[in-house]
């Protein structure tokens, strides 16, 4: 239900920013931004990475000072020197990375910084009572005595919301709140957001997911390159239009792909068992087969063993039981180089930690898997001419936006860093691509590019194992979808027969009585 009613009786904006400008060295992050938020409204702020959303929110929340511009709260001009000022003016923020202390209880987290004290002793009981009241009032279902580390992500997020409400916030800023949620948890969040808005809380909802923004917002403001491109309403626009506003050109949202033509078996996993760093079994007797010319998507909420599975397959983690065969060759517990040499490409989960040497130039990063081979090395001595030539060629071919191929990788934007990895991995003779969260944190333009590369490689006969927490990505790219929960594949279905609802339930560990859950590829 879009709250039409709430928009009519809200003439006066509760929050208004006028002409906000913020210059960082080399970047104009915010360029005369105007924005207004009405009472009880859900106002989405949409934009690519680097569009200036976070800068603007940090200015409103008092973390940065603007170079120019004014902030008005409830018709009065205010200056935010620190988050304390923002809190005082009733602004609460739920950060993308939660600001919760795992070893504290919910109540302790909520009272932190604005504790009530009776005779020098923390009034835990009073706080718990207040948390229960708030929880009840807005349908949040938060237990004040639970330990935060025991709570699932969705509930932790609600604790953050209660934390803001406890400080009497009536303006809530939610920074990419759905990035960490399962589809069901996201739906819960949307229900809560509507409830909050109905009770007069005004919400700024930051996102780059078009579908969600259309679903939940009353109004949508799009930022690009630090400027407001426009403000619209969901009724007046659609995904394609919003994407074009965001990126500044037409974007192909739907991944165009032909029917998969699966070939011979490329990857075979037999009864794989893997432990995590704490010695807990996180991949449990998992078996899987992957064929040339298909994309197998592994859907699942993060932390269900996907990362460890990928690490085991790529030689980064010890395999405690079972076997991994790539093109019929046993690579169980082989070193990463051996696995790379049988024709495996790995696009790792954390591009900065595992994908790149950030302090190396792009050219060197592009030969990390092949530097010891001819023509890049002769008798143990590097051939810089060949490395440079290779770097220039790949930067051009994969459209890496960099001032020069010789700048260090850390200077590149996230999207371009990812392109460097993709260029390095896909430019070798490969038969298997293992991609873990290949588009996490990237903007629409880069996502589009990487998706197309993956499908191109599939069409050339590569087998692709795609791990992603983004259900949309899994559904857009995969030919078959495997749902992973608690270290097991709970079901494999052809993408054509998978729907979001069912996948979401499976991802949450709910047993779904699917008519034909497992199928073999013909």
């Amino acid at each position: 239900m879009k709250s039409e009613a709430s928009m009519e009786h809200s003439a006066e904006p509760v929050l208004q920013v006028k002409g906000i400008t913020k210059q960082f060295p080399g970047v104009l992050a915010n360029d005369h931004i105007d924005l207004d938020l009405r009472k009880g409204e859900i106002h989405a702020l949409l934009g690519e990475n680097g569009a200036g959303k976070s800068t603007l929110m940090n200015i409103i929340y008092g973390l940065y000072q603007p170079d120019e511009g004014e902030i008005w709260v409830n018709g009065r001009q205010v200056v935010m020197h620190s988050p304390n000022d923002a809190i005082k003016h009733g602004i609460g923020m739920v950060h993308q990375h939660f600001m919760l202390i795992p070893v504290f209880t919910v109540a302790e987290n909520i009272m932190l910084g604005s504790e009530t004290v009776k005779k020098g002793v923390l009034d835990r009981r009073g706080v718990a009572r207040r948390v229960r009241e708030l929880s009840h009032q807005y349908g949040l279902d938060v237990d004040p005595d639970a330990l935060v580390s025991d709570l699932p992500v969705g509930l932790q997020q609600r604790v953050e919301i209660v934390k803001a409400l406890y400080r009497q916030a009536d303006i809530l800023i939610l920074d990419e709140p759905t990035a960490v949620l399962t589809p069901q948890e996201a739906d819960d969040l949307f229900r809560i957001m509507r409830e909050l808005a109905a009770q007069g809380i005004s919400i700024i909802f930051i996102s780059h997911k078009l579908k969600e923004v259309l679903k939940i917002s009353d109004r949508i403001t799009v930022l690009r390159g630090g400027r407001v491109v426009g403000t619209t309403r969901p009724q007046e626009t659609d995904q394609a239009h919003l994407a074009a506003m965001m990126v500044g050109r037409e974007v192909i949202l739907q991944v165009e792909k032909s029917e998969a033509r699966p070939g011979d078996k490329v990857l075979e996993i037999q009864n794989l068992n893997v432990f995590d760093d704490r010695g807990v079994r996180v991949v449990n007797d998992l078996s899987l087969e992957l064929y040339a010319g298909e994309v197998l998507g592994i859907a699942g909420v993060q932390g269900n063993g996907q990362s460890e599975l990928v690490e085991a397959l790529t030689g980064l983690r010890h395999i405690h039981g079972g076997r991994v065969l790539i093109q019929g060759r046993d690579v169980t517990n082989k070193p990463p180089r051996a696995i790379t040499e049988v024709g495996t490409a790995h696009i790792p989960e954390d591009r900065q930690k595992f994908g790149l040497v950030l302090s190396y130039p792009v050219t060197d990063n592009l030969v990390l898997c092949t530097y010891y081979l001819s023509p890049f090395a002769r008798r143990g001595v590097l051939n810089f001419r060949a490395i440079d030539e290779n770097g220039r060629r790949l930067v051009e071919k994969f459209d890496v936006r960099t001032p020069s191929p010789y700048v260090v990788a850390s200077k590149l934007s996230g999207g371009n860093q990812q392109k460097v990895i993709v260029a390095r991995e896909l430019s070798r003779p490969i038969r298997l691509i293992i991609a873990n969260q290949p588009t996490r944190g990237l903007d629409v333009g880069s996502i589009e590019y990487i998706h197309r590369e993956v499908i191109d490689m599939r069409d050339q006969g590569c087998a692709v194992l795609l791990v992603s927490a983004e259900l949309d990505e899994i559904m857009a790219l995969s030919d078959r979808i495997a749902v992973m929960f608690g270290g097991r594949i709970v079901s494999i279905l052809p993408a054509a027969r998978a729907d979001r609802e069912t996948l979401g339930l499976m991802m949450a560990g709910v047993e779904v009585g699917h008519p034909e859950p497992v199928q073999a590829v013909t």
Binding site: S82, P83, L100, P102, L112
Partner: protein, 356 residues
């Protein structure tokens, strides 16, 4: 503190006391020996307990402090120096001299804490390096001044080690101290009593007050604390300085309560053992105190065995070697730190400088 570690502590203490009872039980009643061992244990555990409390204040706020040893040593020296100065140069009575000595020791510790805070919080020096700097600094300063002030001709004491004002007197706890046999446990000197009080106070402060909640928050997730308006830098400074002051009080134990003299390097690794106690106690005051008592008991063994040297059976002749028994606290430290007796979890942001 989980049962396994508590059981380990109890077991070690029982073994240590048991050894003395077995050796000396023929000439002295077992009850007397046990009471005497417990009394000595509490007394000699004092610097370890206080050292561990000092570490808890720092590390709960996210600052690793391996400089406790140096803080203690410097405080021991300056406290002693102040007491002698008052007593023999300014001719003040013994008691006020000793009390001024304790205050100066605490202030010395506080200053060292301030130094550690400046290095590790403001200048974000690696905290291990910062602590090492403090340890080396303390050894150097105390050794140098000790020679210059007391043994050089023309120094204020004229090359003569002056007569010390003695040590802090015992403060018997009324009624309890008069009990037969166990009374001795309750006739302790003031810093030993303060150490036990400090355990209770620290526990209360850490877990029941606003100060404690904020301190722990800063040690676990400083950015989260920052976003709710807590001044991370200030909280860290305050706790590290308090930690330094507690280490200073521990230092006073050496020269104003235990023996009336100063010797170079006299803290003898106690600061490091108290860190082991802190870790074994899982950064909780009560747990750390228990662990400190284990080390105290090991030391009490050495002291009490002296009385019964003649009665040590030939089969246990190695116990006659004081240095063999003296090794026990250090061996215990190594066993405990291997983590065989249960893993512990430090505060999440321990040792990490906070960058805005």
């Amino acid at each position: 503190m989980d049962l396994r570690r508590f059981g380990f502590i109890l077991l070690i203490i029982v073994i240590l006391i048991g050894v003395v009872v077995l050796v000396g039980g023929k000439t002295v009643p077992a009850g007397t020996i046990i009471a005497s061992m417990l009394a000595t244990t509490i007394s000699v555990a004092t610097p370890l307990t206080l050292g561990a409390i000092s570490g808890i204040f720092c590390e709960r706020a996210g600052v690793v402090n391996i400089g406790i040893e140096g803080m203690m040593l410097a405080a021991a020296f300056f406290g002693w120096f102040a007491a002698i100065l008052c007593n023999s140069i300014w001719k003040m009575p013994a008691m006020p001299s000793l009390l001024i000595g304790v205050v100066i020791a605490i202030l010395t510790g506080g200053l060292m804490g301030l130094l550690h805070a400046v290095l590790s919080v403001t200048y974000k020096v690696d905290q291990i390096i910062g602590g090492t700097v403090i340890n080396i600094l303390a050894v150097g300063i105390t050794g140098f001044l000790n020679r210059q002030l007391f043994f050089e001709k023309g120094s204020i004491f004229g090359g003569q080690v002056p007569h010390a004002p003695g040590v802090l007197p015992r403060l018997p706890i009324p009624i309890l101290a008069d009990l037969p046999v166990v009374g001795v446990i309750f006739r302790q000197q003031p810093i030993a009593i303060l150490a036990v009080v400090a355990v209770a106070v620290t526990h209360f402060v850490l877990f029941f007050t606003r100060w404690g909640l904020r301190t722990r928050a800063v040690g676990e997730h400083p950015r989260a604390a920052d976003t709710v308006g807590i001044n991370v830098i200030r909280v860290r400074y305050a706790n590290v300085i308090i930690g330094g002051m507690v280490a200073g009080l521990a230092g006073a134990y050496f020269t104003l309560e235990s023996v009336p003299s100063f010797e170079p390097l006299m803290t003898n690794g106690r600061g490091f053992i108290s860190l082991a106690a802190m870790i074994f106690g899982n950064w909780s005051p009560v747990g750390a105190w228990m662990a400190a008592l284990v080390f105290g008991a090991a030391q009490a063994l050495q002291i009490n065995l002296q009385f019964f040297r003649q009665q040590i059976p030939p089969a246990w002749a190695f116990l006659q070697q004081a240095y063999v028994v003296g090794l026990i606290p250090y061996i215990l430290t190594m066993i405990i730190l291997t983590g065989i007796i249960g893993r512990t979890t430090p505060p999440a942001a321990d040792g990490v400088a906070y960058e805005k």
